[in-house]
Amino acid sequence: MTRRILERLAASFAVIFGASTLIFLILNWLPGDTAALIAGEGASEETIVRIRAQLGLGRPIGQQYWDYMVGLLHGDLGHSYATRAPVLQEIAGQFPATGSLALAAAAVAIAVGVPLGVTAAAYRGRLPDQGIQVAGLTLHSIPAFWLGLLAILLFSVRLRWLPVLGGNGFSASVLPVGCLGIAMSVSIQRLVRSGIIEALQEPYVTTLRAKGLRASQIFYVHVLRNVALSTITLLGVLVGELFSGLVVIETLFARPGLGRLAVYAMGNKDIPLVQGAILVTSATYVAVNLLVDLSYAWIDPRIRIAAANEGA
């Protein structure tokens, strides 16, 4: 098991290294002069040259890459071109807001998606199932931006139940978390529903029924556990989707966050900042998927046993 974890960790580092190398190359290859962007419109040629020198942009690409990677190994993500502040500090300022928003949204997605999926499967083809499917399809077709606006109009302006601004306070987080989580719950609901319907037709269910187990026992102990595997895998994938949704929600609700930071940094070719943001995002993505991988063994005894045999 330890070996398996170590292997996965090594692979994760390779993924993060690859992602940061790729983004370094893409950003350098994109047209645009960072120094001119920082100098602002109407700046003189002399100013731009001076800024270029200050930022060390005159160095060859290979050297810039080498310096960056050496810094990275020492835990130094460099300094933002635009603000000159350490990248780590810039990101640390934005990450908690994004992290807590994402985590809460994922929790809402599970809390809403799983019961709805179970209900839909249990009432397959009947009114509750149809209702859930139609509602899901509708929610899925509404862009996050529009959904957020409607939620603001209804809950914040019309009913005055919830504030729009307020950073990470609980009541101010309800709308953004709800918008993200509910949109995400649709995929989970569908997967759970189809997973259950499929599993109910498996031979092992027939065997369990023949053994005389109660329907609820078959459902909660055996079927759901089988469905959990694919649901958790989907959750790992959805984290990526969540990060892209964050950009929109952060702007709409005027919240701080990594999404806004990354988009702004990208437009300004603030390479160290973009790299830092992507590094943190990809590390989070990889970490979540690592946890997903490891949870398989916990959920599915077959994987645990196979891993144990491998180790022997």
Partner: protein, 547 residues
């Protein structure tokens, strides 16, 4: 609509009908509007203004007045720093940190007599040394400050005595007072600049009515009352400290969200209300709406005259004639913005009023002109010459700010009717600047906030131009006029020069101005006496909250 609002609506309708029936003059109506905006009651100290402003998707707050080029940040900075002079209506200037000043007859020396009772927020004294430090700081190329373009041919400052400073230019420099009144040349504390160094944009220290307290990146900036303040500019409604204890500037980049936070009471003021909500706020009894022209070079389309098809002036003229700006501006801004007639916004010194209503859509003339030049309509309606379609590429980086892309979409349709194929090429700012520098575009567009017509020199002058300039015009006559305009100290002669310049830019179709931007602020009814200054920036010095 609840009963109260319905009653209000019908009484408002009645009032309008009555006003029409009695033929009351526009001035009367304005007077009644003004009294509605400033109802009775004495200002009371205390309270906080929560101002939801459009700070765009920018996550970095740069509050160094001399460094920031970003108008939304200057809307905050204006409350932190004071200027030597204040711009007043009618192109006049009033005293502020300078009690009085003299300009030498040759327009090269400006001598300022300063107040001697002014201190910076850090407790240090404001004096002639501080003014010299600020201007020297701006002019030093090592500092790479944006405000350097506001001091033109600056040669140096001389401290005559602690309250007298003489600023010298190598050539006459007429725009100086107008630029000096801008917040970009707001005076900052030399001690604080030395203390904070590169981090000064996060620790702004001025002499303004509010002092910087804290900020949270991308989210908010908090300013507190300056307890020592007693040097407001000429024209302020009161003297002494501000009524408000605090202003919190909340960055709310999404326009619908801004309106929502005013309606739900989370903010008591917002700016840049979108056109679809302006009418609602104008007539509301629960909210007030202030509007003021932002002094600027109007959002204009720049035709790259360096390459075909724009190297032929007739094609440029046909392009302009094909546009129906009256209809496009009305459709997009719902009548809240006027269409532009000149590159300059109407309140800038030298604006040529005689240009108004002199040019309109002339699609037939455009078609005739294009036929003459050899651009004939092809089977799909797009004109063709020597096998090449009449495609023009518009390179853009700003997105739909101020609904600019909506405007372009309508213009695109109009152009198609005449046979132009307008293509939109949206790029991140880095790629955009690279394309502009390489001249790989037919059309770009932009605006520039500025209180003086000299802004046209910054845009069109070949001499001042960097490779990223949006105008590629190379016209010796225009160059000479722009230079003369910047040096002419006689107001009448100077205005005449700019009238000529505006005609040249329009007649030779170097740029096509589109709309006149109005900056606006909507507040809840309890917020009183927010002002928009002559340059179009919000002022909160006299602001108070009724309870």
């Amino acid at each position: 609509m609840n009963a109260r609002r319905r009653a209000l609506f019908s009484s408002a309708t009645l009032a309008v009908l009555l006003c029409g029936a009695l033929h009351c003059s526009r001035a009367d109506r304005e007077a009644s509007a003004a009294s509605r905006i400033r109802p009775g009651g004495a200002p009371a100290p205390g309270g906080e203004l929560v101002f939801g402003f459009d700070g765009a998707a920018v996550t970095e707050f740069n509050l160094d007045p001399e460094k920031s080029a970003f108008a939304p940040h200057h809307r905050v900075i204006r409350s932190i720093v004071d200027s030597l002079v204040v711009a007043q209506p009618g192109h006049k200037f009033g005293p502020w940190l300078a009690k009085s000043w003299e300009v030498s007859p040759d327009g090269r020396n400006y001598t300022f007599h300063l107040r001697d009772d002014v201190t910076f927020h850090d407790g240090t004294k404001f004096d002639a040394e501080a003014v010299k430090f600020n201007l020297d700081r701006v002019s030093d190329p090592k500092n790479a400050l944006y405000a350097v373009s506001d001091i033109g041919p600056y040669a140096g400052s001389t401290v005559v005595d602690p309250t007298t400073v003489r600023v010298t230019f190598s050539e006459p420099y007429a725009p100086f007072l107008a630029n000096l009144a801008k917040s970009t040349l707001g005076i900052v504390s030399p001690t604080a600049v030395r203390k904070y160094g590169d981090d000064f944009p996060h620790h702004p220290v001025g002499t303004g009515p509010y002092r910087f307290r804290s900020f949270e990146p991308a989210v908010e900036i908090v300013l507190d009352r300056n307890p020592d303040y007693k040097w407001p500019p000429a024209g302020a409604a009161h003297s002494g400290v501000t009524w408000l204890d605090r202003i919190t500037f909340k960055n709310v980049p999404e326009e619908a969200t801004r309106v929502a936070v005013l309606l739900n009471g989370q903010a008591n003021a917002i700016d840049l209300v979108p056109p679809q909500n302006v009418a609602e706020f104008r007539t509301s009894s629960e909210y007030r709406l202030l509007e003021g022209e932002l002094l600027n070079q109007n959002y204009s389309l720049y035709l790259n005259a360096k390459r075909p098809p724009w190297d032929d002036q007739r094609v440029r003229t046909a392009f302009r004639d094909a546009l129906d700006l009256d209809a496009a501006v009305k459709t997009v801004y719902l009548g809240t913005f006027d269409r532009a007639w000149s590159p300059l916004s109407p309140s800038i010194f030298g604006y040529d009023k005689t240009l108004e209503h002199t040019w309109h859509a002339e699609p037939e003339a455009a078609a005739r002109l294009l036929d003459e030049v050899g651009w004939k309509k092809g089977p799909d309606g797009i004109r063709v010459k020597d096998g090449k379609p009449l495609t023009v590429v518009f390179v853009d980086t700003q997105g739909n700010r101020e609904k600019r892309l909506d405007l372009m979409t309508i213009l695109r349709k109009q152009l198609r009717d005449t046979g132009f194929d307008l293509k939109l090429d949206s790029q991140p700012s880095g790629a955009y600047l690279a394309k502009v520098a390489a001249g790989e575009y037919d059309l770009v567009a932009g605006s520039l906030f500025a209180p003086d017509p000299d802004v046209l020199r910054r845009i069109h002058s070949r001499k001042l131009r960097t490779s990223f300039a949006i105008s590629k015009v190379d016209d010796p006559e225009l160059e000479a006029l722009l230079e003369a305009g910047s040096q002419e100290v006689d107001a009448e002669k100077r205005a005449a020069i700019y009238a000529k310049i505006q005609r040249v830019v329009l007649d030779r179709t170097y740029a096509i101005p589109t709309y006149v931007l109005k900056y606006n602020v909507a507040t809840s009814q309890s917020v009183r006496d927010v002002a928009i200054d002559v340059n179009g920036f919000p002022v909160f010095y006299d602001t108070w909250i009724a309870r």
